[in-house]
């Protein structure tokens, strides 16, 4: 698959397109809707607008109907989504599109077309399953009602990339609410569900398609987390400039200045690490680089949003203030993969090979 070289100009363009959408769409108000309205994610019209903008196919080659952009640009898009706390399942979808575009065959083509056209959400399970006999798949992120799930089965020496559809026989989805209004999905599967699940790719092509999409998904998640942490920091800095106590702006107090400086250093490191992790694409460090980036981004977003609330004082603890939305989203976005601990242990496993 050929891609254009990474380009800062393209990254700015795609990020701006999302910024304009989010501003017209009501900004952070949508994140609040998603938190408070459990039926938010059943609105398919939003998906159509994302499809129209071409975001699901951002990392898909132009010949396969995508925008043919690199991982750097994809992360710029995800970071802007993070700034606006976009509640939609963008990251799982763009990674799934990447995986589907690497598969040949009618079923992959049709699924990719449905995803890029906004007719269907597809998400990617980031950990392979050991066999196709699993009766439960738990803690699936980015998987609102009606989604399909891409799963890699690593059964002895065989590998298969299969797709599970929620409408299939023998498959039942239950969802538990998360702090941000999203859900973690549990699939209960009977043997029939596995029998009916179409195989999109086998062997090495399946593994290659899966690995690239999985790593892109972690990188885009890291970008989203960096984006939301950056916005939380900016909102907090604005507050410290305006809010006065003891007759002076809060931002003049060195104790608070230094806490903000620490957040800035933390975020700068996470952003730099993500940039380098994108440059590890196609190397033997691609997988561990993605884990490193998302470990650092998640931990940083959790630290920064905690500081953001503290620096707001009591108003930060009220549901009314938007800063709490960032805290909740950081928790929800950092948790998949086991959070910092999970990512670091996987990093250790990968580097100890």
């Amino acid at each position: 698959m050929t891609h254009r070289p990474d380009s800062d100009a393209d990254a700015t363009l795609v990020a701006d397109s999302l910024r304009q959408f989010a501003e017209r769409d009501g900004g952070l108000a949508r994140a609040r809707d998603a938190k408070d309205n459990p039926r938010f994610h059943e609105d398919a019209t939003r998906r159509a607008r994302f499809a129209e903008a071409g975001w699901f196919g951002i990392a898909v080659a132009e010949a396969r109907g995508g925008a043919g952009m690199g991982w750097h640009e994809t992360c710029a898009l995800a970071a802007m989504a993070g700034r606006y706390l976009l509640p939609d399942p963008l990251i799982g979808a763009l990674a799934s599109a990447h995986a589907l575009s690497a598969c040949a065959g009618d079923h992959a083509d049709r699924t990719l077309a449905a995803l890029l056209g906004g007719d269907r959400n597809v998400t990617l399970l980031p950990d392979p399953l050991a066999a196709d006999a699993a009766s439960i798949i738990d803690d699936i992120a980015d998987c609102p009602p009606g989604s399909d799930l891409l799963v890699l089965i690593e059964d002895r020496d065989e590998a298969r990339l299969v797709i599970l559809g929620e409408q299939q026989d023998g498959l039942r989805a239950t969802r538990q609410p998360c702090v941000d209004g999203g859900t973690l999905t549990r699939l209960s599967l009977g043997p029939a569900a596995w029998r009916q699940a179409p195989t999109l790719a086998n062997g090495t092509p399946a593994r290659v398609a899966f690995a690239a999409a999985r790593d892109l998904q972690w990188l885009a998640r890291a970008a989203y987390l960096n984006g939301l942490a950056g916005a939380a920091l900016d909102i907090t800095l604005d507050y410290l400039r305006l809010r006065t106590q003891f007759g002076r702006a809060l931002g003049t107090f060195q104790a608070l200045q230094h806490r903000m400086a620490s957040c800035h250093v933390d975020l700068a490191a996470a952003r730099a690490l993500l940039t380098e992790a994108c440059l590890a694409r196609h190397t033997d460090r691609q997988a561990e680089a993605a884990r490193a980036a998302v470990a650092r981004a998640g931990a940083g977003a959790l630290r920064i949003t905690a500081e953001a609330i503290q620096c707001h004082g009591a108003i930060g603890f009220s549901d009314e203030h938007d800063i709490g939305l960032f805290r909740r989203k950081a928790m929800a976005m950092a948790a998949p993969g086991g959070g910092e601990t999970g990512h670091l242990l996987e990093y250790a496993r990968l580097t100890e090979r």
């Binding site: 200045q257 620490s262 580097t351």
Partner: protein, 384 residues
Amino acid sequence: MLRAETEAQSRWRADIAAWLAHTLPDSLRHLTFRPPPDQAMAWYRTLAARGWIAPHWPREHGGLGATPVEQVILMEEMARAGAPDLPTQGLNHIGPLLMHRGSERQRARHLPAILNGDVIWCQGYSEPGAGSDLASLRTKGEVDGDTLVINGHKIWTTWGHHADWMFALIRTAKGRRRQEGITFVLLDLASPGITRRPITTLAGDDELCEVFFDDVRVPLDQVVGNLNEGWSVATALLDEERLRLGSPALALKALTKLRHLAAAAKHRETACGPLRERIALAEVDTEAVIAAYLAAAEALDRGQPADCSSLKVLATETVQRTLDTLQRLAGPSAALRDPCRDGALTLDYSEMFLQSHRLSIYGGTNEIQRTLIARNTLNLPTGA
């Protein structure tokens, strides 16, 4: 480094590794402290002869003109092989300053001697009453004909007792602002009237010293820039200097020490428990320092501003965090004073850990850096 290497970069890495394998003496590997001057300078000259002593210097001044990525590769291989720390005041501070602000004569006289390792430099900035508040310095210089007569006291001078020359800030006039009336001078430490007294550090080495000046006469042609305008000379390359302080070299060195400890049989079991996560964190943190270093160095190379205060904080605190993990991994051995060898491994339990306290103090404390970040980068208001 996570980023994909070009073929040329991979060859450069292999060349360095191979060269170090047969050139770096065992006795100099995996030391915490700088070796004694004779051994340190022998290694310095070996690197100089290979052309690798000044990777970041431009070619026109005899450096390697290496890109940031090439510099990181060199640092990574040096850390892996356990190459020793060398004196850096010439290479990282006065050398680049003279390139920008020195006279033709000063450059011709001093730059080659820095590159060859013929002259060791030290920095005379801090004084007993002027640490973070450097502009309050009081070491005095009075013009007498064509010389400057210096009286006063410098302290925390790294390798001052081993150095041949010092670059110093001297109060030569009373200005309206405290930054005015300061002169930047180069002085030969063999001059009469200089007394040096080594300072034993918390880590147990005598890396630092204090320097006393009694009527020390310095020719005026050893002033860099103009008389009374030394502050602008000293601060001309602050970004580049902080970039060096924020280089990943020490984070890589700390990580190498952690890896050695984790690989030693005695500690392998603890490394498999919850500490495995912390070791991975140290690895990831070090990659983050490399990434931030590349971002800053490449920005400066393009002539763009770089966030060097943030880099200094990040790099130094990462070293400290990595060594904190090392201490946890060490178990009861954490209390041991001296490093020991275990086959090819060097187990340094406490030396670098104690030494690393200096990192968040020197070169502008991390508190000063955070204040600068808050004001200059985050645009937070200054106090009343």
